[in-house]
């Protein structure tokens, strides 16, 4: 985010004239709407907003937002964003990537943009499949995923994007999913964070990996299997009847029952967005008795990369003036006088 004067816009102002070309029913539509709803909420200015993407279904996103947009090459969006932001730190930069783009071919750049802490929002649409190339299993596909390249089920273990982000040094990690009404709030918090904000957005690929996230997003099970993390609030789910507590013997989280709303009695942990250890445990929670942690899991700002680069540059050039003539004649020089040159040029 940046500290610009808020601009009054509406959702409509953020719709480009391009026809949206995702499969009917794709989760990307809902995410696009959530973003277009968020941008007016945060007072974003279209002329200073840049959406940068790589390659994949998600990466068509910039074409549909009425702002500046750069649809780049596979996996490299973070590197382009770094150049853009270093060239003009005033720009508000959003990265759009997917599980293939950001965790596979571009995993390296995802790691480095996070560790450097470039001020930008990184939305990783995780549908656990390669959609645009027609359904191959991806680096986040669960073991056993059947696909054209894994006809009897994939054997490689999936990467956990949020754990990867924390491991790379991310200072903001959040989760949401395509049709969640709370997604704009998550995006708002990401934008408010000064530094690299990593948001994993579970997205339903209705063609190649339909209803993959039903185990925690389907109507009947959502309350039971989602936990929304709010800073300073107890980690409760299942309508307040269950909570997460620290098992002091194993130093892991455990699920406890909460009776009559007395979470203190059940020793339910209070969420603290600055607690990195807790964040690691929340993003690593397996299924089974555990819910899927959503919302802002970690948010502890540090100085931004572009800020440090600008400061370093200021320090390096202090007291120096840009004199090209002086630069060219730096070091040991000698002068050839007119008389020495009397012989003129050689053949």
């Amino acid at each position: 985010m940046n500290d610009m004067t808020p601009i009054q816009t509406t959702l409509k102002d953020w719709e480009s004239d391009q026809e949206v070309r995702w499969c009917p029913g794709c989760g990307d539509y809902a995410i696009l709407k959530a973003v277009q709803r968020t941008l007016p909420m945060i007072g974003a200015d279209p002329k200073n907003t840049v959406f940068v993407s790589g390659i994949g279904c998600s990466s068509r996103f910039p074409y549909y937002v009425e702002s500046y947009g750069f649809h780049t090459i596979h996996g490299r969006a973070p590197a382009f964003a770094t150049g853009i932001k270093l060239a003009n730190p005033e720009l508000d930069v959003w990265l759009v990537t997917g599980d293939g783009d950001g965790m596979s071919i571009g995993g390296n750049h995802t790691m480095h943009v996070l560790r450097r802490n470039l001020d930008c929002q990184i939305m990783l649409f995780n549908n656990e499949i390669y959609g645009l190339t027609k359904g191959q299993y991806s680096p986040t596909s669960r073991v056993g995923t059947s696909s054209p390249t894994s006809p009897v089920g994939s054997v490689d273990r999936p990467a956990l994007p949020c754990a990867f982000a924390l491991g790379s040094g991310a200072r903001f990690v959040a989760r949401g999913y395509d049709v969640s009404k709370d997604l704009p709030e998550v995006l708002k918090a990401a934008h408010a964070h000064k530094g690299a904000a990593f948001i994993e957005i579970f997205q339903n690929c209705i063609v190649y990996n339909k209803d993959r996230f039903d185990d925690f997003t389907a109507k009947g099970v959502a309350a039971e299997n989602q936990i929304w993390c709010t800073d300073g609030e107890p980690l409760l789910f299942a309508k307040g009847t269950k909570g997460l507590s620290l098992d002091h013997d194993t130093l892991t989280l455990k699920v406890v029952d909460v009776v009559d709303g007395d979470w203190q009695a059940a020793d339910v942990a209070v969420h603290n967005v600055k607690n990195r250890g807790l964040a690691h445990m929340l993003v690593e929670m397996p299924f089974g008795p555990f819910p899927m942690a959503l919302g802002v899991i970690y948010d502890d700002p540090r100085p931004t990369f572009e800020g440090e680069v600008v400061a370093e540059r200021a320090k390096l050039i202090e007291g120096k003036t840009a004199n090209l003539g002086k630069l060219l004649s730096k070091g040991q020089t000698w002068t050839v006088e007119e008389k020495d040159a009397a012989h003129g040029l050689m053949d």
């Binding site: 200073n48 090209l324 040991q332 050689m346």
Partner: protein
Amino acid sequence: MASITAEQEKPASVQEASPEAVVVRFAGDSGDGMQLTGGQFTLSTALAGNDLATFPDFPAEIRAPQGTLFGVSAFQINFGSSEITTAGDAPDVLVAMNPAALKTNVQALKPGGLVIADTGEFSKRNLDKAKYETSPLEDGSLAKWDVLAFDISALTLEAVKPFGLGNKEALRCKNMWTLGLALWMFDRDREPLVNWLKTKFAKNPVLADANIAALNAGHAYGETAELAGPLKKLHIDPVPSEPGLYRTITGAEAVSLGLVAGAQLAELPMFFGGYPITPASAILHNLVKMKEFGVTTFQAEDEIAAICSAIGASYAGQLGVTSSSGPGIALKGEAMGLAIMTELPLVIVNSQRGGPSTGLPTKTEQSDLYQAVYGRNGDAPLPVIAARSPADAFECAIEACRIATQFMTPVMLLTDGYIGNASEPWLVPDPSTFEPFPVKFLEDTNNPDGKVLPYKRDERGVRPWIKPGTADLMHRVGGIEKAIDTGDLDYSPATHQAQTDARKAKVDGIAAAVPAQDVCLGNENGRLAVVGWGSTYGPIHQAVRRARRKGYDVSHIHVRHVWPLPANMGDLLAGFEKVLVPEMNTGQFKTVLRDQFLVDAVPLNKTSGQPFAIAEIEEAIASFFDGVPGHAEGEVPVNDTQLPNPEA
């Protein structure tokens, strides 16, 4: 080129000679500081007003095991009282700091040349490491050269004794002792070196004093020993050159300065994205120190991120620059395609080295020409410029910035390991004489009837440059094929054909915006044109000059604009009966010329990682005139006495 040994026939009293040019090679262990010695000797040579060219050659290993053959580091300098354009074919003087340095270099020495060796290093152990069974200093195997062997190690230890250094530190002063002797031999002023040592060791005055003492001792040795043997003082007259202020410059420095100047002339801040790679890293090192010129440097996580960040910066309105060597350029290929597709300015510097793959990291080759001109997916043309010498790289870098920003295109600038590391005197230009080419961004819509047209081309086929942050000009760019003018996604057959043609026409059109190809030596037509590009300039030029002195009708054409080729190139070549193309590759530019002009270009190839020797090109030229065929298959045989030495 006179050999100093010619003087030997004269009475011993005639100690001063004045040859036209001398080639000296310093060789030692990679820890002996030979590059530094060579660099400082170069500076003193420049200050004495001689023209010069250098060839630094060092092993790929950072610190190869001491005393080994592959750990030898060498520095060759050719200097003289007339124009010098190559580092010289064979040395007149070899300074060998240990047996390995002697073994790997002595075969290159001219018959009758002078060997200076440090006997202190010729121990049994070091002889073994160099695979000598007996000491060459004693077994007569060096009979065809003059040998001056004495214990430089002991003399140095003696000279620095008063400063109380440890044995290891004291021996490190050996290179300064040797330099002192060399300064005496060539009648050089010690003062600039003394000043340099004082600055270099400002924080440790004892080390400064010790090194100065070693330098003086070496000088005094030459002065007072009055050696009856082969050592003698030589004076090389200064070169009559254009008046003005001079400095020495390496190609890497020249590229860095040229990029800064180019960005200033475009009135743009510069963004440099780089990733460390030999021999290109020096450019990043240099630019880090020039940030007051609006330079931002970014050491990226890999070659791909380096170019992508530079393209991002160009998209945001700065001059994006990236630099690498062959393997890194290969990684950047896809991103170059994006810069071509989105039509954004970008300068890509390729300091070529021997390939393929890791190849010869510290040696030189010109084998990335195909990669530069053709090496991307799709029909992806971009302009390619090649620098011919360290000093020429300055102008070429400015030219690359000009074409990139004026034509909204990535431009590749080719140098090579030789140009990058070698140094030569440079007449410092006056910036007020440079022609500025300020960039104009689009600030108001170019379409009164509706939304901005980011791909509306002007009469040269160039689209506008629009910075994010500009009100009302929001638009999207990307790597997918796009509609004419609007840039909206459109990959219909007609659109792709039209845009492919438009991108090609734009780059082809640049030929009209570059200077006509000139003939740098000889006539505009005739029997033979020797056509080169890049760092073969020096050897070709000298070879053509010598051939012309013999009366051969031969001309030298050296091409800077490799792609698109200057508009008159075809007509120029048609004026010659034959075209010879010497290249440090298997004939890449020859193929380009044949393709473009259906000309019967004959290759002369060398792929040993070494620059051409003048004699090799001379011989090839002669074969056109005396009917004696040149080298079979147009390939120069491997010359294992030339730098870099393949054994090392």
